[in-house]
């Protein structure tokens, strides 16, 4: 099986920090669009990940 190490690492990190992220997102004094900023960072990460390429051409 191909091991997508970066992807698995990212999932692990997200799982570990999910409570903190949720807390940060729902802080009462934060801007309403903060989740969208985080979402945009996720898009950038996905863009960076696909540029490095992964092969499943077999």
């Amino acid at each position: 099986m191909y091991i997508h190490r970066a992807l698995l690492l990212a999932i692990g990190i997200i799982l570990v920090f999910l409570p903190s992220i949720a807390q940060w997102l729902t802080d009462s004094d934060t801007a309403w669009y903060r989740p969208f900023q985080l979402w945009f960072l996720l898009v950038l990460a996905a863009y960076w990940n696909q540029r490095s390429g992964f092969s499943d051409e077999l």
């Binding site: 099986m1 191909y2 997508h4 992807l7 999932i11 949720a22 997102l25 729902t26 009462s28 801007a31 309403w32 669009y33 989740p35 969208f36 979402w39 945009f40 996720l42 898009v43 950038l44 990460a45 996905a46 863009y47 990940n49 696909q50 390429g53 992964f54 092969s55 499943d56 051409e57 077999l58």
Partner: protein
């Protein structure tokens, strides 16, 4: 402020006509291919995920669940951002095996038409709420747009009429969109472009509405911030976290929906086979959904601020109504219309195809009429199924009585499609999963979904009694939907795992599981087909497909593979069979395709070879050029190194499978045989061009592992090759490797040496010959002088007879010499004929006796005068001249040389014995090597015995040497020859 119904319906028709025009322009090429095939178009077409739920329902979701409305998008975002885990393996599978739907994938994996049928029926049922949602969103929007909102809420009949009218229009367009192509083998460029266009339209509409809300309602971004500060309860409501389990359930269903929903699956896999486009979607779709989600909160808040009373799911329309802007209302309507129409069109197309390939074709193939091709019948099948499905959606919508919120419908539909996720995940990851487990899981999970979630929607049945049970089982007590969804998916997964573990997985399922597993490619086996030519495929498939369709499909597959119709290589035929099956799978579904191929083009029973098709395997790996890492990369490097070594070996090497298929043919083989590897690899050994087929097949079948010298004539050129073979027992499953050495240069050199040696022999004999000829010439001269004066006729006659005797003697000497010198000046073919052994020995003795300077040894020919050997008499003469000459050189003046022959049933053994100095034991192994001599320099060339060995090999004989054979100072040497016994045969005797 409102539009008339007529205006709205004309607008709907105009919009859909515009959409159809876009599709037509894309299909006809009027829109540049650079645009229609740009990855951005593919990414935008995936925006079909965001149906009316995204334009309408999600606002209500935000009001109900706060920030958790983002989970609706997050499901798809996570699915695509982590595409390498599920989407990429699926894309590979769909591309190779032409799978166009989830039912195709699961049928392919679980090898049963019943799985496809079950998935299709289940999918149709679970999608009913989603279709109803789209219809309700459009009908509701039209209703609001066309009249007083107070009338809307109390007028279900008008709702239904509007919905029916919308369904009729959308049916017509769905048929126009969906039946333009005969199958899903090729990309439906028009559809993809049209759906991408719709995605742009709904995004643009929502973004415009967002800016209007921000700047016209709130007076700018700062105004919104102030308004939120003034209304802190809205911020709290937004951030009020719902129960974690509910959030997780929402994420799970939307995650599953992002791949299990048929319209998304269709756009993601059936309309795209390119990994690069999928890679673009991994960030492109999340970005698109981000932009689509951004307007939700500003529009919802603007609507709250304006205080319009319409339901939250129509907030975007309410904005236009509140601001009394017909343009804004129209924009909101366009957003809903584009989202709903895209979802309905693609969903019904995908479902129609599924119904056709899994409910109709596997159980009753269309009858192939003479004047109607299968393709036409399939198109008509889709045309009939599309209205049936939309009518089903409308009926469901009518049954709901317009009493359900859009969000409710969406959640029920997404909860239903969640049940296809276990099978989909198991496809690449769990080889033990089997069809019984899948069907059991689906039956269990969907039963709960049906009772707890669907039934309450369409009937008075309430599952209140079950909620405490579900709450206790799932641990979710606050939300009945989440509890029922979790329990149903637990039951589904549990039954799937349990039944799969306790029941047997069939061989075909294991093979399919291996193909579907992420690290495995299709492993073709070296099975032989009953059909031996590509041209015969059409005939075999005609009974099932009809002659016209069968020929069309075979021609298409041949063209795709770039094979000719007279192709007969087993490897190529297997590839052709697989390609036709894949193409038929795109046309008729995997179950029917497999059934047609198995019945029309079966593998030959009994002679199946379980070995992998190594040639195909290596070719595929080389073509794919995968990027291996770690141990796999090391192994691949090692493979390439060994491959290169074999390929560049200066000796021809070919590998043959147990069934006679050629698996390897290196460059030296190409040079020796003048046959390119691509032409013969995968062929049966006996079918490669002559004369190599006979030579190699004969040697492959022979018991001997070596054929030292084999003559080959190609294009009037004679070559000699030496063959060696070895069986690959371990791991090779009966494969054989044959080495072919081109020894033509060696043979030519040997022949030239033979001739040189012969000339040298003649040179040594020249003095003796001159003397031998001189004596009779002197005698003739004397007789001629006497004849001049002789008058007695009797005496003259006597003298003439003497002259004739002397000339006969001269003639015999000259003939002997000429015979000897003409013994093959070039390496001609050895012709084995019966030859008298004693006569040949006599001739050799006679030739040697011409040498007056030689030692006067005694030659004794004891051979039976009747013995015949199978030999080339001239070459045999050379053998004896060399052997007897050597024997004479080894003897002293009193040497005796004996030639004896013994005959058995098949052979004649000839011994040449002398009482000479003998050959030391340590030199006996070398005496047959070229240029080895124990004589003084200038006396011997060292080629005599080497040539004897070579000639005896040519004549299929043997030669051995033994020394000493006598006691005393002259131990002597015995050279033993063995030749086949011969006779003149009956033809000679008569």
């Amino acid at each position: 402020m409102s539009y008339s119904l007529t205006q709205i319906m004309v607008f709907v028709i105009a919009y859909l006509s515009g959409l159809f025009a876009v599709a037509h322009l894309a299909d006809s090429g009027a829109i540049s291919r650079r645009i229609t095939h740009h990855p951005a178009v593919y990414v935008l077409s995936l925006g079909v995920f965001a149906g009316a739920m995204a334009t309408n329902g999600v606002i209500a979701l935000a009001q109900q669940y706060g920030y958790n409305f983002l989970l609706y998008y997050m499901g798809a975002v996570v699915m695509f951002a982590a595409a390498a885990l599920v989407l990429m393996p699926l894309l590979r599978l769909c591309r190779v095996y032409q799978l166009a739907s989830l039912a195709d994938v699961l049928t392919f994996r679980f090898r049963s038409p019943w799985v496809g049928a079950a998935i299709t029926i289940a999918m149709c049922v679970t999608l009913l709420p989603l279709l109803a949602l789209q219809i309700q969103a459009v009908a509701g929007t039209v209703n609001l747009l066309a009249g007083d909102s107070t009338v809307v809420t109390t007028g279900p009949e008008r709702h239904n009429q509007l919905a029916l009218f919308f369904c009729i229009i959308i049916t017509a367009f769905s048929i126009l969109f969906g039946t333009r192509h005969r199958s899903y083998q090729e990309r439906n460029t028009g559809l993809v472009t049209a759906i991408a266009f719709e995605s742009v339209v709904k995004l643009s509409a929502l973004l415009i509405l967002m800016f209007v809300a921000l700047y016209q309602v709130f007076g700018g971004f700062g105004g919104l911030e102030h308004w939120l500060t003034d209304n802190p309860h809205l911020g709290r409501q937004l951030r009020e976290s719902v129960d974690g389990d509910v959030a997780r359930t929402l994420l799970l269903v939307f995650f599953a929906g992002a791949v299990c929903m048929p319209h998304i699956f269709h756009m993601a896999f059936a309309e795209n086979h390119d990994s690069a486009e999928m890679r673009a979607a991994t960030w492109g779709l999340p970005l698109y959904l981000l932009l689509l989600a951004l307007p939700v909160l500003p529009i919802a808040w603007a609507c709250l601020k304006l205080g319009h009373s319409v339901p939250a799911e129509f907030s975007s329309l309410a904005l236009g109504l509140a601001l009394e802007s017909t343009a804004l209302s129209a924009l909101a309507f366009v957003a809903s219309l584009s989202a709903a129409s895209a979802t309905i069109i693609v969903t019904t197309l995908a479902l129609a195809n599924m119904c056709l390939t899994h409910l109709v074709v596997p159980f009753r193939l269309p009858k192939t009429a003479m004047n109607q091709s299968l393709y036409t019948q399939l198109l008509w099948g889709r045309r009939i199924l599309i209205p049936v499905l939309i009518l089903g959606g409308y009926s469901f919508y009518s049954a709901l009585g317009n009493e359900q919120q859009l969000t409710e419908l969406a959640l029920v539909a997404f909860a239903g499609t969640l049940h296809f996720l276990p099978g989909l995940i198991a496809t690449p990851y769990w080889p033990k999963a089997n069809r019984l487990g899948l069907l059991a899981g689906l039956a269990g999970g969907l039963s709960i979904w049906f009772i707890a979630l669907l039934m309450p929607l369409i009937s008075n049945f309430q599952a209140d009694a079950l909620h405490p049970l579900f709450g206790a089982l799932s641990g979710v007590t606050q939300n009945a939907w989440a509890a029922a969804t979790l329990v149903s998916i637990f039951v589904n997964s549990g039954l799937f795992v349990l039944v799969s573990l306790v029941t047997r997985t069939t061989k075909s399922e294991r093979v399919a599981a291996e193909i579907c597993s992420m690290d495995a490619r299709a492993r073709p086996t070296k099975q032989s087909l009953a059909v031996v030519r590509a041209a015969d495929f059409s005939t075999q498939l005609a009974p099932a497909l009809g002659a016209k369709t069968a020929k069309s499909e075979v021609d298409l597959a041949l063209e795709e593979l770039q094979f000719s119709a007279d192709e007969d290589r087993p490897y190529a035929l297997r590839r052709l069979r697989a390609r036709i099956e894949a193409n038929l799978s795109g046309l008729l579904g995997p179950a029917a395709a497999n059934r047609i191929i198995e019945s029309g083009l079966p593998f030959q029973p009994g002679i199946d070879d379980d070995g992998d098709d190594l040639y195909s395997m290596e070719r595929d790996i080389d073509q794919a050029q995968p990027r291996f890492t770690g141990l796999a990369a090391d192994l691949d490097d090692l493979r390439r190194h060994h491959r290169e070594t074999l390929d560049k070996l200066p000796i021809g090497a070919c590998s043959i499978g147990a069934n006679g298929e050629l698996l390897m043919w290196n460059r030296s083989m190409e040079q020796i045989t003048q046959i390119e590897a691509d032409r013969v690899l995968g062929s049966l050994l006996g079918s490669i061009p002559a004369p190599w087929n006979q030579i190699l097949a004969g040697f492959h079948a022979a018991d001997e592992d070596t054929a030292p010298k084999t003559e080959v004539t190609t294009n009037s050129t004679v070559r000699w090759i030496s063959l060696h073979k070895a069986a690959i027992e371990e791991g090779g499953k009966g494969d054989t490797i044959i080495l072919v050495e081109d020894i033509t240069d060696y043979e030519v050199l040997e022949s030239e040496l033979l001739h040189s040696e012969r000339l040298a022999s003649i040179g040594r004999l020249a003095a003796g010959v001159a003397h031998e000829i001189g004596n009779p010439v002197t005698g003739i001269a004397c007789l001629a002088q006497n004849l001049e004066y002789e008058t007695d006729p009797g005496e003259i006659r006597h003298m003439a007879q003497d002259i004739l005797k002397q000339t006969a003697r001269v003639t015999r000497i000259v003939e002997s010499l000429m015979n000897f010198s003409h013994t093959g000046s070039s390496a001609g073919e050895v012709e084995l004929l019966p030859a008298n052994l004693a006569d040949c020995v006599d001739e050799a003795i006679h030739l040697l006796s011409l040498d007056r300077d030689a030692k006067p040894v005694s030659f004794n020919n004891h051979c039976d005068r009747e013995l015949l050997v199978s030999a080339d008499s001239q070459r045999l003469l050379q053998v004896f001249v060399n052997l007897l000459g050597n024997a004479r050189d080894a003897c002293d003046e009193y040497g005796e040389i004996h030639i004896r022959a013994r005959a058995d049933a098949n052979h004649i053994n000839i011994d040449v014995e002398d009482n000479g100095c003998g050959i030391p034991a340590e030199l006996q192994q070398q005496v047959f090597e070229p240029f080895f001599t124990t004589k003084d320099p200038g006396v011997g060339t060292g080629l005599g015995l080497s040539l004897v060995y070579s000639i005896m090999e040519d004549m299929q004989g043997k030669v051995m040497v033994a020394s000493p054979i006598l006691d005393g100072p002259q131990p002597g040497t015995r050279v033993s020859l063995q030749l086949d016994r011969a006779s003149y045969g009956t033809s000679f005797q008569t």
